[in-house]
Amino acid sequence: MIAEILISALLVMAGIFGLVGSFGLLKLPDLMTRLHAPTKATTVGVGGVLIASMAYFLIFEGKLSWHELLITLFLLLTAPITANFIAKAHIHREMTARDLPVTGTERDWATLMPSDEPVQPVMNRVDEPPRQVSDH
């Protein structure tokens, strides 16, 4: 009985989070703020469903289900990266350095900064011998 209540509560909570997340997606004014809605709220929402599912299988079916853990793992791995990329793309396309707060370090925002990654003119091990421009 308690288990049922617990699972139901989890499901309801997940539903609310999902709803709030979707609502936020509609309501929030610009992309940067809107990004919070699905990535945060929906993650918790889906997480709630997954925990509920695990609890259900453990208590009522008597077996430990690992699928949900894996789903959680992948969700936690992909959601932030997706958000990060969307934000980066947004900064890249829509914003200039003036629109952004100062980073506080000596570095600029990575997305805006011209790459200072160490580079070399020719690759050492690509299946192509280094070619001069003028060889043809």
Binding site: L77, T78, P80, I81, N84, F85, K88, H92, A97, T105, E106, R107, D108, W109, A110, T111, L112, M113, P114, S115, D116, E117, P118, V119, Q120, P121, V122, M123, N124, R125, V126, D127, E128, R131, V133, D135, H136
Partner: protein, 959 residues
């Protein structure tokens, strides 16, 4: 097996010269010669049996349903021709080694020569006319390569084209003739056809078949009026001319007539068509030969003339004439090959083959002179050489042949031909070698090395030997060959002296005397000849071919203009129209199966699919959006597969979708981001209508299909019932892929591998210079680049996921046989895991960390799959039959091992290699376009967050 092997040996040998040329020209020639010698030896081993009158057969079923079997047989005729082809081939290989200059690609030459040799041997050994046709066409193709060997010479290319057009067209006619013949006889096997003389000659289809087959034979053997291609083929290197025009290619037509002699000959039609054509060709070509100044052209027309002679003899349809024909084939091959080779030597040494610029060479080139002397005297028919013997016998035959009631027409014309023959033979000899030594040769000639004159000298020796002791040297072979042609035992009596009463003697005397007189007045006749207008064969040929080619080009321009839209429109309209026709003209009721109710979730999926497709049409100019929409459609389709209980398909679809979208995104980097407006409104409407009709048609068809039960029992039942029993797996889809239809899969991975290598090759060509390369070099990004190309979070995540993804790949691979999965999906999963590394950490960084060559991966995949398939042979079962068993290894549970898993490993490797090679190719384009090479996995390294380096500081300040 041995006969098939003789025919196959030259083809296998064709692979060697290309490799052996790396070891030097001698090694190359010796290898080629060795293969030919081996084939000749194998043929020789059969000779005693054949000479005893046995017929050796090898039967291999190839496509029995079509009546096409790889059946070979060897009788006296085959022995004669195969011996000539291989024997003279061997001499040609020796001669060519010294003839070809250093700048000629010798490996290529020998490869072509071996291909040609194999095709010729195939023709003469075939016991199936369809197989014979295959080899026949192969000789046309390979002789095209040989004649056009000097690609830089326009005459060579044009000559090759002309030879291919004429002989190829004849070959097409012959295919029709052979099919008719096979139909009448009820079998395509020669040995059966040859038994059916009465049925064939009585058939109303006899004449069409005869004409069509003779068209093939006449074009190949350069008979009037198709003789014109042969002199133009003289643009080939001399070894080619010597080979093609003495012993092989042009004799193929004669061989065919001899082969078909038992069933086709003996009728008036045969006599009048064949004997007349032969006679006309003989006289006409001999006359033209007399006025040719080019040594090889002279020999070319003399070849045409002698071919006409043999054709005429075959046309007589008598046993005696056929015997003479066989004898003359041997003689002609020996003296003509020797003559071509000596002409080649003269050309090689004096740098000209123009008779008018030669003369007096006997002092400078005594050895060559001796060879040419013997050979040309034989060609002229001077006793006691072999040419004399067969010419006498030929004249004897004509002497008692009646042509349309006339007793004198045949002998007179034949004597005239012989007379011309004497004249041009002596002209070849006298104007090249006799006379005073000149001082204006383009190059001071002298005798070549032994290697070059060895081959013609050997042939000249044969000319003398056959001439002196014909019965010992050639009689047995003539008997065997003529016996095979006529189907009755033959005992030829070849002798020099037939007595004063023989008409041939006087005809011969007349020919020699007249010929010498003609030669004496050659200068005057030459002037008349040059003054008379003649039809120029090449101009006529071009006049026919050019308009045809133009017509072909016009038709092609309409139907094959390279526009995908047009192809799709034509195909769609045709298929829809045919479908509609079928639907409108046949009875059909409504379906018997009840419709299932529409459920909500699938309906949503369907709706998404429809909306994405419509959006794709609407937004197709924005390529990025298009790609996203394609991805959405792909995902919906895979969800659909999963819903319809096809997990294998769903997995494959989803991984294919991911891999394609990633690769296309990378490619899009270098493409315009929008598609320009190309079609007018009317065109859009037209295409839209076609698309709508096509789509509706397919929709209606599927609806009709799904509301009915199958008309035939489905093959699915068989697969379901046997997948575990025979394939050892419970995942039917996988068992179909690796077992039931394993051969298809093998073909598919091969194609996939080829596809990937083509991508690589295209990239290679693109980067090798030219406008595309220039554009890449001048390329500047059309969009602002992000500063942070390799974001920390992505790099860490992908690296974290790599082992997991690899384990998943292995897992999917291993379980594939019994549960959804398999090599194809596993390959894609692993490829995606690796592609993610490349995307996250950069190409160079990742590439530096793996040591596998993707080409090798593809090759290894196909080879492993092939080896697995071949492994089945060792168990005595057909290719790709899989085997499985259960293994117990402590401490594991009992598990199954199937050879299919090995095959699947091949699939896995090929798929992996193909995707990665495509990625590598795209990366190479990026690097050429100026993409810099990263050394670190990250752009912004947390460890570097210390004091700033100079350039970065300036950026900060600039802000």
């Amino acid at each position: 097996m041995s006969l098939a092997l003789i025919a196959a040996l030259p083809f296998l040998g064709a692979l060697l010269p290309g490799l052996m040329i790396r070891a030097g020209r001698n090694a190359c020639a010796m290898t080629t010669g060795f293969v030919t010698a081996l084939a000749l030896l194998m043929l020789g081993l059969h000779a005693p049996a054949v000479l005893r009158g046995e017929v050796i057969q090898t039967r291999i079923e190839w496509l029995p349903g079509l009546g096409l079997n790889a059946n070979f047989f060897l009788d006296g005729l085959g022995l004669l021709f195969a011996g000539l082809i291989l024997g003279i081939g061997l001499l040609i290989i020796l001669y060519a080694r010294f003839y070809l200059s250093k700048s000629d690609p010798m490996g290529q030459f020998y490869t072509y020569l071996m291909l040609f040799q194999g095709a010729m041997v195939g023709i003469v050994l075939s016991d199936n006319i369809l197989l014979l046709l295959v080899f026949w066409e192969l000789t046309s193709l390979s002789s095209f390569l040989l004649i056009g060997y000097w690609k830089h010479l326009p005459e060579g290319r044009q000559g090759a084209r002309m030879a291919l057009t004429v002989t190829g067209a004849g070959g097409l006619a012959m295919i029709a003739g052979m099919l008719i013949l096979g139909n009448i006889a009820g079998s395509y096997d020669l040995t059966v056809i040859l038994q059916n003389k009465e049925a064939i000659q009585a058939s109303e289809w006899y004449l069409p078949a005869l004409i069509l087959i003779l068209l093939g034979a006449f074009t190949k053997s350069a008979q009037f009026p198709f003789h014109f291609w042969l002199p133009h083929a003289m643009a080939a290197p001399t070894p080619v001319s010597a080979y093609l025009h003495s012993a092989t290619m042009v004799k193929a037509g004669l061989f065919l007539m001899a082969r078909m002699w038992p069933v086709l000959a003996g009728t008036p039609e045969w006599f009048y068509i064949v004997a007349t054509t032969g006679l006309v060709t003989m006289v006409l070509a001999a006359k033209i030969a007399l006025f040719k100044d080019d040594l090889k052209a002279l020999l070319a027309f003399s070849t045409v003339s002698h071919l006409g002679l043999i054709t005429m003899l075959l046309g007589f349809g008598t046993k005696a004439a056929a015997t003479v024909a066989m004898f003359h084939i041997i003689n002609h091959a020996t003296f003509k090959a020797a003559l071509f080779m000596s002409a080649g030597i003269v050309d090689h040494e004096a740098h000209t083959r123009d008779i008018k610029r030669l003369g007096g060479l006997r002092h400078l080139m005594p050895v060559t002179f001796a060879i040419a002397l013997i050979a040309s005297l034989s060609m002229a028919g001077i006793p006691p050489l072999n040419g004399f013997l067969s010419k006498e016998m030929m004249l004897e035959e004509t002497a008692h042949t009646v042509w349309a009631g006339s007793h004198w027409l045949m002998p007179v014309l034949a004597t005239l031909g012989a007379l011309f023959s004497v004249a041009y033979s002596f002209r070849f000899l006298a104007h090249t070698f006799l006379g005073p030594v000149r001082d204006d040769y383009p190059h001071k000639p002298h005798d070549p090395g032994f290697g070059m004159w060895a081959a013609p000298a050997l042939l000249a020796a044969l000319v003398v030997i056959i001439g002196l002791v014909p019965m010992t040297a050639a009689g047995w072979l003539v008997d065997a060959a003529a016996g095979a042609v006529t189907g009755e035992p033959v005992a030829a009596k070849i002798k020099h002296w037939h007595g004063l009463g023989s008409p041939a003697l006087w005809m011969s005397v007349l020919a020699v005397g007249g010929g010498l007189m003609l030669l004496a007045s050659h200068a005057r006749l030459d002037a008349i000849w040059n003054a008379t207008p003649r039809p120029e064969a090449k101009r006529i040929f071009d006049g026919i071919v050019e308009p045809l080619a133009a017509l072909a080009r016009r038709v092609t321009a309409i139907s094959h203009d390279g526009s995908l839209t047009r192809y799709l429109a034509i195909a769609t309209v045709t298929i829809t129209a045919l479908g509609y026709y079928a639907w409108a003209t046949a009875d059909h009721g409504t379906g018997t199966r009840a419709l299932t109710p529409i459920q909500t979730v699938p309906a949503i999926g369907w709706f998404l699919l429809v909306v994405s497709s419509l959006a794709l049409v609407a937004f197709h100019r924005n390529r990025l959006l298009t790609l996203v929409l394609v991805g959405v459609i792909g995902l919906m389709v895979s969800v659909g597969f999963a819903y319809m209980s096809a997990p294998d398909l769903a997995l494959t679809q989803i991984s294919v979708e991911v891999a394609t979208v990633i690769l296309l995104l990378l490619a899009l980097n270098f493409l315009p981001k929008t598609t320009p407006v190309e079609s007018s409104g009317g065109r859009k409407l037209r295409d839209g209508l076609i698309a709508a009709f096509g789509g509706t048609g397919v929709g209606v068809l599927i609806y009709a299909l799904m509301t009915r039960d199958f008309a035939f029992p489905s093959i699915a039942e068989y697969h379901l019932a046997n997948s575990y029993k025979e394939g050892g797996g419970t995942n039917v889809v996988n068992v179909i892929l690796v077992d039931f239809r394993g051969y298809d899969t093998f073909g598919e991975i091969t194609v996939l591998g080829i596809g990937a290598i083509v991508i690589y090759a295209l990239t290679e060509a693109l980067l090798r210079g030219g406008p595309a390369n220039d554009r890449l070099l001048a390329w500047s990004p059309d969009q602002r680049r992000a500063g942070d190309r390799h974001p920390l979070m992505l790099v860490v995540a992908t690296r974290l996921m790599l082992p997991v993804a690899l384990i998943v790949g292995v897992y999917i691979f291993l379980r594939g046989h019994n549960m959804p999965g398999g090599g194809f999906i596993a390959g894609l999963v692993v490829a995606i895991a690796l592609v993610m590394q490349y995307m996250a950490s950069g190409f160079a960084w990742t590439q530096a960390r793996q040591k596998i060559d993707y080409h090798a991966l593809i090759g290894a995949g196909v080879l492993i799959a092939a080896a697995t398939g071949i492994g089945a042979w060792f168990n005595g079962v057909p290719f790709l039959t899989s085997d499985f068993g259960y293994v117990n290894i402590w401490p594991l549970e009992e598990f199954e091992l199937a050879t299919a898993a090995l095959f699947d490993l091949g699939v896995f490797l090929t798929v992996l290699g193909a995707v990665m090679l495509a990625l590598a190719s795209l990366s190479r384009i990026a690097i050429r376009a100026g993409e810099t090479i990263n050394v670190d996995a990250f752009d912004i390294h947390p460890e570097n967050d210390g004091p700033r380096t100079e350039p970065a500081t300036t950026t900060t300040e600039a802000r």
